[in-house]
């Protein structure tokens, strides 16, 4: 799951030579703005065929938050 989220982040944010770990902060470390975050989450929604509740959309702080959420709804 982490690897697939990481891949989406690399493509969406056009990241090069940036280390991505579950602890990476999306805005501060990966330099994503609010639009990048929304865009990335919508790609995840489409890829995983899920609907992330609106109140959750802007509350993911780290890459691990997204991975944990996706794993929790898969259970």
């Amino acid at each position: 799951m982490f690897e697939s989220v990481k891949q989406i982040l690399i493509e969406q944010l056009r990241l090069k030579n940036v280390e991505i770990t579950p602890e990476s902060r999306i805005k501060e470390d990966l330099k994503a703005d609010s639009l990048d975050v929304l865009q990335m989450l919508m790609t995840i929604e489409e890829d995983y065929n899920i609907m992330i509740p609106e109140e959750k959309l802007m509350n993911f702080k780290t890459v691990g938050d997204i991975v944990n959420y996706l794993e929790s709804i898969r259970k």
């Binding site: 703005d33 639009l35 929304l38 865009q39 919508m42």
Partner: protein, 343 residues
Amino acid sequence: MKLVIDCLGGDQSPGANIDGSLRALDRYPDLELVLCGDEAAISAYLAQKATPEARAKISLVHAPGVITGDDKPTDAIRLKKDSSMMSAIRLLREDETVSGIVSTGATGSLIAAATLRIGRIPGVIRPAFCPILPTMDGGVVGLCDSGANVDCSPQQLVQFAIMASAYMKVNFGKDSPRVALLNVGTEAEKGDDLRRETYKILSQLPFINFVGNMESRDFISGKYDLVVADGFSGNVLVKSTEGTALQLLKKIKRDIYSRNVYKLGALFMKKMFEEEKEFMNYQNYGGSVLLGTEKVIVKGHGSSDEAAVFACIRQAYTMATANLRDIICAEIEKAEGFMENIG
């Protein structure tokens, strides 16, 4: 050159959208179109109106759902995935051979869908909406932004100037568009921090023909080719201008009918009134474009007829052919270097 046409959502859809498409195919031999909407209805319409040559250049995507102005944009683009607009956006995103979209559907949803699903050109902070209005000297003026971004930074306004200058050059042949900043006075120190800071940067950028601040009353005077504004002020400006013109026309018409002597006088001025109406007819000036996205986005007026849809397709074709995306990308990169030096 391939474009996708959203055939639902307009007041005269799908007829006007299909008729405008057929006219564009007739005009541009290298053009191919994908029409999104109710496949059966579009096929039946094409069977009556399209020549075999035109029909061969059209492919269809069945997407009968409609996004309306009542739908909340962020919900519409996530929940109405099978609508004509979202199907067209999906095709634009996934098919590298499709260069742009023309839609007469809901503006907010189109802006949100294009921004979130098509993505931004590298370096662009936020895409911006740019309509075109007629000016008193028979020319046109662009306004960027007219509503996509309510809150803006000086850097965003500078990017609007850069992107829309490139657009005015490519689509309207303005070699060095005269750019003005919407403000409450013309002097450099007028306005709030946003306007003063933007003024400072714009006046130092060598590749923007910045001519200073503009008061709203001079918007369609013909003194400017492009007006830069935050989306909130820009939206107020464009709607006040259109509203004032329409109300004034209505009042003149009502006054003419109030007295026989006025009616008699108006008879001699009938042709002039028709010319004025034509001058103010938005359908002659094409649609509004979203600047700063990876692909071409053109939004036609909701009540667009065949001529208006054709004008929108012409705009999209011109932007895609000139590769406006690459021009904007290079100009934004160039500006970043300058802005770092300005500090």
